[in-house]
Symmetry: C2
Subunit: 280 residues, 2 copies
């Protein structure tokens, strides 16, 4: 047992998967969930993702050793600031948001004495959302980024690291800004490009879309209410990554215009080399 | 039996899959393969993708009722023009190339009397290549495009259509130019964008690449020696599709610069609507 009570704020795909994994791994004596609606809590209970729904915000906060905030990113900081004053000293609060600088910056100066915030982001998910797609193995063999700053409590960081490791996740430590610049390239820009490729396809060409198009655009099926705030919160890094993409697309375009097969081949070979390094 | 002898020129992923499917479905009394090397033929024989390797070009051509050319696109027209003069009258030649206008334009005026060419493209494949990845079900529930022109023999078109239908493929008829403009949007541009996204990722960020990045860039692992000639042959349509993509990326970029969450949400919602229409 790492914690007596684990409270999960937001029991969607990520929060539900944390609940399933924590209950299976016996990481906490009880797992409490806070959802947007009574229906969300009923579904999470029925799926075994939580032991109980919290009766009130006070209840979820006071009892918890660890609070994980797994709401859309635009609601994380406000949730943390709502809960923190109601926490016992020693309570650790972490989150699962896909952006880190805005969230960490908004909350870490405003923690009550003895309540510790550790920014986190498990690099796991799906184009699907909702607790019904939860998976106790969602974090296994995946990377979870934690983004401590000079203000972060070392013991709290260790405990949150151990929490994710117990789910089979590999923990990576970086600054909030390094995280945001990195995921702009690995997640936010690709999401936006996938959405553009899907969005520009006329209906009459759907029948020409085969497995390659389906792969390339799969993330575009993600919930816009989750992805819009991610892109807005990380707008600066996403815009910088845009410039890098455009420069690379220019190289392809120049090569095509100049009938330069050698350069097209070099660009494709470089892309293949890096993609092969990833696997999957 | 649709044909006595089926000859397959190029026994890689596509040619090998055609051989496996044709042998399983008993579409031909024998399936002959022509490969680049004796080793290619040995592997195709060992995998059961062909009954026999052709002893010579003359042998493969003369005996065949149907010749399917499944080489990289830059070798298709020259292969067809090499084989055609050695074919019996009544022989049908088709291909599996991902571009159509250049190939159809290069060969259809130059067929000997009684030898019929029908341009084709099964929208199936994988980032993997080579006969060892062949799959007798590769074409099942997929679309195969055939691109007849005013010069195409109607009986040959019917036979080639039936050939693909027997593999479980749905046959779509369009002009070579419609095909090329369509696959520029559904395949060639997405390939190039996936390659750019993979190619611009610094090695130190590989650990931040999760399942979304893997999906979005999967096709970038495709063989550059197959993809370079595809992009070169369809350069005009690919360049037109570039302009469409840039216009759509501009909308995202403007919305991010103007902190316009509503517009980002609208663009993502449009992308999701079209991606959801696809499934998969």
């Amino acid at each position: 047992m790492l914690f007596d009570t684990l409270s999960i704020i937001g029991v969607g795909l990520i929060g539900g998967s944390i609940g399933l994994a924590a209950r299976r791994g016996k990481l906490a004596a009880r797992v409490r969930g806070v959802g947007r609606t009574a229906d969300d809590i009923e579904r999470a209970l029925a799926l075994g993702a939580i032991d109980e729904g919290a009766q009130s915000v006070e209840d979820a906060a006071w009892a918890a050793g660890l609070i994980v905030v797994a709401t859309p990113v635009d609601q994380i900081a406000s949730a943390v600031l709502l809960f923190a004053p109601r926490c016992r000293p020693g309570t650790i609060i972490t989150d699962t948001g896909s952006t880190k600088a805005a969230i960490v910056g908004a909350v870490e100066d405003r923690m009550p004495p003895g309540v510790h915030f550790v920014g986190g982001h498990p690099l796991a998910g799906s184009e699907k959302s909702g607790v019904e797609h939860s998976d106790a193995d969602l974090f296994r063999d995946r990377v979870t980024v934690l983004t401590p700053t000079a203000r972060t409590d070392a013991v709290a960081l260790d405990k949150v690291s151990e929490f994710w490791r117990r789910f089979g996740s590999r923990v990576c430590i970086m600054t909030p800004e390094e995280h945001d610049r990195g995921v702009a390239l690995t997640s936010h820009l690709p999401h936006l490009v996938a959405s553009a490729l899907a969005g520009m396809l006329p209906d009459e060409l759907l029948e020409l879309a085969a497995s390659g198009f389906c792969d390339t655009t799969r993330v575009a099926a993600g919930d816009p209410s989750i992805w819009t705030p991610i892109l807005m919160q990380n707008a600066r890094a996403v815009r910088e990554s845009f410039a890098t993409l455009r420069a690379r697309l220019d190289l392809f375009q120049d090569a095509l215009e100049n009938d330069n097969a050698e350069q097209v081949n070099e660009l494709l070979t470089e892309g293949k080399r890096r993609r092969d390094a990833l696997g999957g």
